[in-house]
């Protein structure tokens, strides 16, 4: 290709990328970084400083909410992995060619409706006068209606529900790439089921596991409706703090600070995860 034309087309390809990444990602992030450093000293009076961060550190509820969010997100990620792995394995390796496509499609079902409707569905099911309680009552398994909403278990169930898809999809695609001959070689050389699982399947699926965990963790940590609607009085989720700052307290400075804190903190968790498993972002999440 002639040089000039190559340059021109490179430029043409670069323009949308740069517009997107600079205007919609990089500058806005810098923007919240900037706002987070403005401290309010009076009505319409601001100074530069770390006060917002100091406030964050000084106020136990913020710290605790962040830790709780992180801890619950890790829990949700772990549950999603444990629940999702057998399903992913079934789809990728056990199911026949045709049912595989159908099962995979069925995994996408939760995506068909929004978070809102999903949470709404759980509420309809789990509330004290909801379907589950009524059915159990009718069957005589419980004596009086039970409230299944507003506790951490429910929040976890609901969150696992919303994110498990993002665990299963990368798992299925890595597991599908695994040659069955590897498993057979594993057995042929004398491995038991457990050995083959531990030494062959898991290491092979590691990029998928890590990718799934990263996405799941980030989605959970950044979710809003599910923990709020299902957690009720006991919710307290870090994104809620951010929304609260912006939407009910119109305190953008604090909100931006929380945003930066959340981003840094979750990135840190992801980074530690990558480091522990010896993977990198480009080899896991980006893998097709």
């Amino acid at each position: 290709m002639p040089r000039g034309a190559g340059r021109l087309s490179l430029f043409l390809l670069f323009t949308p990328f740069l517009l997107w990444i600079v205007l919609l990602i990089v500058l806005p992030q810098i923007g919240i970084g900037y706002v987070s450093l403005r401290e309010k000293v009076g009505i319409n009076q601001y100074e530069f400083g770390l006060k917002n961060y100091l406030d964050f550190v000084g106020e136990p509820i913020y710290r605790n909410t962040l830790l709780r969010t992180a801890w619950m997100s890790i829990l949700v990620t772990a549950c999603a992995l444990v629940i999702g792995f057998p399903v992913a394995y079934y789809i990728a390796k056990v199911a026949g060619e045709r049912s595989r496509a159908t099962l995979f499609l069925m995994c996408l079902i939760p995506l068909w409706v929004s978070d809102l409707v999903r949470a709404y569905g759980w509420i309809v099911l789990l509330r004290e006068t909801g379907v589950v309680s009524s059915v159990l009552l009718r069957l005589g398994i419980i004596g009086e209606p039970v409230e299944m909403l507003y506790n951490d278990v429910t929040v976890v169930i609901g969150l696992v529900y919303t994110v498990i898809l993002f665990m299963i999809v990368p798992l299925v695609s890595t597991l599908q790439g695994m040659d069955n001959a590897l498993l057979e070689a594993g057995y042929n050389l004398g491995g038991s089921r457990l050995t083959v699982f531990r030494r062959i399947i898991v290491p092979y699926a590691m990029p998928g596991i890590v990718a799934g965990c990263i996405i799941t963790f980030m989605l959970t940590a950044g979710s809003y409706l599910t923990p709020i609607l299902l957690g009720g009085k006991n919710s307290s989720w870090f994104t809620e703090q951010i929304y609260n700052q912006f939407i009910t307290r119109y305190n953008w400075e604090a909100g931006a600070t929380f945003g930066v804190v959340l981003l840094v903190f979750t990135s840190l968790v992801v980074w530690v995860g990558l480091w522990v498993t010896g993977q990198s972002l480009a080899t896991t999440v980006a893998k097709d």
């Binding site: 106020e59 009085k233 912006f246 939407i247 009910t248 119109y250």
Partner: protein
């Protein structure tokens, strides 16, 4: 031309919009539902653009305007102020005049108090009952500033008197916070909207709850056992107003709408939808039959006397209240 309303649920009934559009064929009405905090947040974010008419409560206009400059002064000559209840107009004007310019006029008023299912909680009378051990798991409230104020009244304090003194106010907030955290194990859940609350009450899951009277009046029609009870310390009275955002682009249409909803036959429709009382002299009479019954069942003369109107929040207090609310939310109930 489009008239973009930023208002409360129920404050723009479909019937009225249709009628208004019929009378003004060149105007299209678009509605965004909101609440006090969000109205301010939204207008702050838009720099006062994006909406042509907003309806914050009277106590939430002043500080927001001073700090964020999101409204424009009203041209009172374009509003039929004389059709409104003079006392309410004066009250609102007093709260929302800055540099001699008036920023809002009243629209609907009502109270916050408690809603009681008489079969389940026959003797609930005040804010304090919401945290009574005997209703464990059977009460609800909205975790917003109203419950802070109500609880303070219930504890024998008067927060409005403390507005001038931040330290005292903080002191009061601390007590209220402590009380409400202790109360958390009693409360079944914090409701977030009228719908939520209606479902909780109608299903019988909740026996008593903090509420807007208007929501209570609506439920009364479904189940007459559920009534609004003005707390013995006085129901908290609010006035929802009209303001015009600074970047509004349809001022004429906005004034037309304000005047339109003052027409007696329209007031009727409006009140039927909001459950609240219009800021016109015969507001109560213009309520629909069933709601008027509910109001009459709820209020007697003494209650009306006892109303506590929300006072203007001075800038800064909201932050203190915000932190108090966050503490309560984050505290564990177990």
């Amino acid at each position: 031309e489009t008239l973009r309303l930023l208002t409360w649920g129920g404050y723009a009934p479909e019937e009225l919009i249709k009628k208004f559009e019929a009378e003004n064929p060149d105007i299209d009405v678009e509605v965004t539902l909101s609440n006090n905090e969000e109205m301010i947040a939204k207008l702050r974010a838009t720099g006062g653009t994006g909406f042509d008419l907003a309806q914050p409560s009277h106590d939430r206009v002043y500080a927001a305007q001073v700090e964020y400059n999101i409204y424009k002064p009203l041209d009172l000559s374009k509003i039929n102020v004389d059709k409104m209840t003079p006392k309410l107009v004066e009250g609102v004007k007093a709260n929302t005049t800055i540099d001699g310019e008036v920023y809002s006029v009243p629209h609907q008023w009502g109270t916050s108090g408690i809603m009681v299912n008489k079969t389940l909680a026959p003797d609930a009378t005040g804010w304090a009952d919401l945290c009574d051990e005997k209703y464990k798991g059977r009460t609800s409230m909205r975790l917003r500033r109203t419950i802070l104020l109500g609880t303070a009244f219930g504890m024998g304090m008067n927060p409005f008197d403390l507005y001038g003194d931040k330290a005292a106010y903080q002191d009061m907030l601390d007590k209220v916070t402590e009380k409400l955290i202790a109360c958390k194990s009693i409360v079944k859940t914090y409701w977030t909207g009228g719908d939520d609350l209606s479902a909780l009450m109608l299903s019988g899951e909740v026996a008593l709850s903090e509420t807007w009277d208007s929501t209570a009046f609506k439920i009364y029609a479904e189940n007459p056992d559920i009534v609004f009870v003005p707390p013995e310390t006085g129901a908290l009275a609010w006035i929802d107003t009209f303001t015009i955002p600074r970047g509004g682009q349809a001022d004429d249409a906005a004034y037309k709408w304000i005047n339109f909803v003052l027409e007696p036959e329209n007031v009727k429709i409006m009140s039927a939808s909001t459950g609240a009382i219009a800021a016109v002299p015969n507001g109560i009479e213009l309520l629909p039959e069933d709601k008027r019954a509910a109001v009459e069942a709820a209020f007697d003369e003494k209650d009306i006397e006892n109303l506590k109107f929300f006072a203007n929040i001075p800038p800064g207090l909201e932050d203190m209240e915000g932190i108090a609310l966050e503490r309560i939310q984050a505290a564990s109930s177990q």
